[in-house]
Symmetry: C2
Subunit: 335 residues, 2 copies
Amino acid sequence: MTTTSMKDVARAAGVSVGTVSNVLNRPEAVAEETRSRVQAAITELGYVRNDSARQLRAGRSRTVAVVVLDVANPFFTDVVRGAEPLIESAGGVVTVCDSGEDVRRERRHLEILEEQRVLGLLITPVDDTSASWIERLSGHDIPLVLVDRGAGRHPHCSVAVDDVHGGRLAARHLADRGHARIAFVGGPASIPQVADRLAGCREVCEERGVALEVFTTAGLNFAAGREAVEQMLGLAERPTAMFCANDLVALGALQALTMHGVKVPQECAIIGYDDIDFAAAAAVPLSSIRQPRAQLGRTAAQLLFDEIGEGEGHTHRNVVFQPELVARASTAEAL
Amino acid sequence: MTTTSMKDVARAAGVSVGTVSNVLNRPEAVAEETRSRVQAAITELGYVRNDSARQLRAGRSRTVAVVVLDVANPFFTDVVRGAEPLIESAGGVVTVCDSGEDVRRERRHLEILEEQRVLGLLITPVDDTSASWIERLSGHDIPLVLVDRGAGRHPHCSVAVDDVHGGRLAARHLADRGHARIAFVGGPASIPQVADRLAGCREVCEERGVALEVFTTAGLNFAAGREAVEQMLGLAERPTAMFCANDLVALGALQALTMHGVKVPQECAIIGYDDIDFAAAAAVPLSSIRQPRAQLGRTAAQLLFDEIGEGEGHTHRNVVFQPELVARASTAEAL
DNA sequence: ATCCCTTCATGAATCGATTCAAATTCCGCG
DNA sequence: CGCGGAATTTGAATCGATTCATGAAGGGAT
């Protein structure tokens, strides 16, 4: 009742619905006089386009969804920030979905996004079991780009950072600092990023004869870091350094260590991953492995629109960035 | 072409479209045998409902939008987290829109949300000029709840925290610690939360004879805090404590002070606002004014659905929570 | 065999915007 | 005055799901 449709506007302006539509979509094809009369009717009646009807006709929405593991993680908000400008300047609308590292939540989001016939999708899959759902979307002609994750042998575009190498950088740095017994903290192991970072770390540890203790956590957040520390402090032979799978975990660990009076880095060094803004502002400025967050997002959006634009003849591209060590106080030379 | 519609499913299962619709929406009204035949056809063809068509018919979408000032601010992600469960359990879909403290971005979002005929809206308006747009949505029968902002004399539900009182708490705490010259850092002044916190602060300063220096920033983030410190350090008579309009600003300030070798809290104390998780993990654990973030979100969602449910006869409710001081090292007694 | 009631299934109408072939108007020019 | 062509406008068809009045089929009871 309250809703005003094009038909109402048409009647008020004394024209046909086709003309109203033209005023909205191809104003240059409408005579000046008519156009202003229609515009007047539109503001007069407070008419607002109905996007559902538009989409129904168009067969697609103009929404680009970004599915991330954790919106509260600054890493992902930075990725999204990187992607937004390009998407919006292309007339798209961004919607962010938080899978919370949970496959079930991820799936629910994907179901809804598919029903919404989204224009495209940037997604950081929770784990390998996500693949079948992703293929399904892709099979239904929804273009997508994998973010922070190589495509492997899957037929998709992707932007990723070499996490194995990142793991190596971290481990090598700790080994260089003289640590002979280190802990890796992160999980769940099913998350590809975690597995890769651990793999790189393990490789270096074996090479350099460093003892590696793995603490598998339930998630990648503050609490995980705190819990890992509680567990670690109980050990007879305690590692002298920790490599945390991301900065949130590292900050949680740092907090717990400080609370227990363990000096960082003298009694236990810490290095994180992502180099989020908070890392530098931490109790002890946190060493970390930096990823080009915004660029990851920007490139992902670029690849997506390339794919949309090129249509059938599209060749998938897989972009890999190299991570970079940022050494700060939390891994300073022990005195 | 590639898209399968209900008509295709109906044909494949040898029934009418009406029956397919019933299988999806009221399965109990369909005979067991028919139902399974239709289900089989659905999976066989990989049919996926078209939400646009559904919404067009329904006249409304099932999306609840949350419009926040800054998604990268943990305060807001926590508010969203608080609201989500309730919205989802009511069959809604959450979409988060980031206004970035920018009225133009906010307006663009509102335009789109209106075209999408969203089910409802939780919004933290950028400033008072947002009001006219908000009234417009409201006038078009889109129920909304103001978040972190009293409704004033506007006819809406709202959940808020008493920011004036929060400002008082912070200032009183600093005065109690013996500071006689303090700085308020935050902005832009048009943001109501900033204005209120400053008002409370100013009130106490006058009462207690504390000198107040106001540094107005362009935003509420890390960079703002850093810049304010640069500016402050140039002053002849430097404040001995800073009250920052939120924790991000405070962390930025803390970082800058540390870089300049200014000892916190000995040479300059800091208190923030929001008590985000990072506050406790900061270089110097940050004193802050705590707000019940998750509860703010939960209550907002509750009010929204109350309003949707009650329809015309609805009476608006305005819930106000009280903030709470959390004292940590950054405002410890000067030694 | 008949009538009534329940249970199921049908298919046309509807939501609102877009599209496009066809119709109409308008002009300049011979 | 009439014609060709450009500039506008029209309105019916379409997208896909939902709804609901109508109808058909099945089952008791008499």
